[in-house]
Symmetry: C2
Subunit: 282 residues, 2 copies
């Protein structure tokens, strides 16, 4: 049976490190603070926000909420961001997207300072993750994948890592982070031919296919480590990943469960970015 890569265990280790860092910052008079900008009240946004606040509290990070009705104008939202950019007491910002149709996503993204972009939405953060330089922040989800590998001592140097999905929030940044770790990324997507063979030959799979149980036995092999980024709801109302967990468990070497895997780690990485942004203000 596969080793279970337990998100909770990673969170505990990361949060312990972060608590110590927050204490040091507070001794210097700095309380790392996350700004949350939410327009409207989508169920998933509110749910993520609750998780983030809980995580922040447990680490000692402050949260400032900027909540608006869907009717907020683009200009008003730009003013909010401009104020946050100038506010030395807010170190990092997340902004729930997609925004309402009357607000231009590009204009809003451009307004945020890269040094406060702890969720990797600005062009500078994109350039940073692409070039492997310290510019802005990468998105939290792919960084959570790498953190899980690191926590369990899984060295990907030289290894083939098949990344399934090419989105800007998971697939592409994950591939770039794999490269930074000296792994060999293969970016697979819906058009990829013979993805089964490519995946079976890979040492690690990072799966963000966006479809419940899309990755079954035919993609898997015994020496593999599988990181499942997917979060889907089954017909009977249970959460499941993009990997067929039951099938995978009896084939691969190690796998993250859903729930309790990558998703759990993501908010801790967000806090890591906020704390890093706070440190850089010293």
């Amino acid at each position: 049976m596969a080793q279970i890569l337990n998100g909770r265990e990673v969170v505990d280790a990361v949060n312990e490190r972060l608590r110590a860092e927050v204490l040091l910052l507070k001794e210097k008079g700095i309380t790392p603070t996350l700004g949350i900008i939410r327009v409207g009240a989508k169920v998933e946004d509110v749910s993520y926000e609750k998780g983030a606040i809980k995580c922040a509290e447990s680490i000692g990070v402050d949260v400032k909420k900027y909540l608006f009705k869907e009717s907020i104008t683009q200009e008003q939202l730009l003013n909010v961001i401009a104020a946050i950019n100038l506010d030395l007491t807010v170190h990092g910002v997340i902004l729930f997207r997609p925004l309402p149709d009357h607000i231009d996503d590009n204009t809003i993204r451009k307004a945020l300072l890269a040094c406060k972009d702890v969720d990797g939405i600005t062009d500078q953060s994109m350039a940073g993750v692409y070039t492997g330089t310290d510019l802005g922040y990468p998105p939290c989800t792919p960084r959570a994948c790498i953190e899980i590998l690191d926590h369990y001592g899984i060295d990907i140097t030289g290894k083939t890592v098949a990344v399934i999905g090419r989105s800007l929030v998971v697939g592409r940044p994950a591939a770039m982070m794999v490269l930074e770790k000296n792994g060999t990324p293969v970016i697979c997507h819906t058009k990829t031919e013979d993805m089964e063979t490519i995946c079976r030959n890979a040492d690690v799979l990072i799966v963000s296919a966006g479809q419940a149980k899309a990755i079954g036995a035919e993609y898997l092999s015994e020496k593999q480590v599988v990181i499942d980024v997917g979060i889907n709801m089954t017909e009977d109302g249970k959460l499941c990943g993009d990997v067929d967990f039951e099938a995978a468990q009896s084939i691969v070497k190690a796998i993250t469960p859903v729930p309790g895997g990558v998703g759990k780690v993501t908010t801790s990485l967000l806090m890591m970015h906020v704390i890093d942004a706070a440190k850089k203000t010293i």
Copy 2:
């Protein structure tokens, strides 16, 4: 014997298209103009510059040269860039790098407007190539690789494309462009394990290994298309690529020669970017 993917043939086709576009622009009173900033007089810079000017002349693109001694200060160079940014008659800029040690590369890169960054050195251009959006310009060399594939009708949709090398001027942008073409990129590098097998299993190789004849028969297979980005000098003073051309020729389906392959096409792509930048000013 492998089909030879002839750079000259691609150049002729691209330049013909570009000449027609320049004529249309000139009818509107716009002469696409490339600014060349050169500090010092390195042999390879001067040689590239000559090639670019020749290519520009044959297409009808104007060139303005900004030539400086190595003693130019950072501030002076920043002033030059600021003036070019404001100059509506210069549509695109290339800047030979590395710059002298007393000039900070990052500061200079940041100073250039992305809309004039026809050689893809700004963060915005990096973000553009990474996200696949129309922001700045990609570097010319990887775009030349894609242009060669396009010219010869080689459709990489779904195909595995092994990119050898992970630099910001070739490997990474080439991988991102492969993705935009719906190919499946594998980014290989010096730490990659069993690169021979990865390459043999790939449908296309884009080779930027930085070493003469580094890629021999053990990396090649018969259905492959090989794009050789390398330019090296052999002991007897001849140019050669990163692929062992003699070995490859009797194995693979198609290959670019060196000289006469990718290198030839690069300056035409630079002109394509300048013309595009000029069009956008309308």
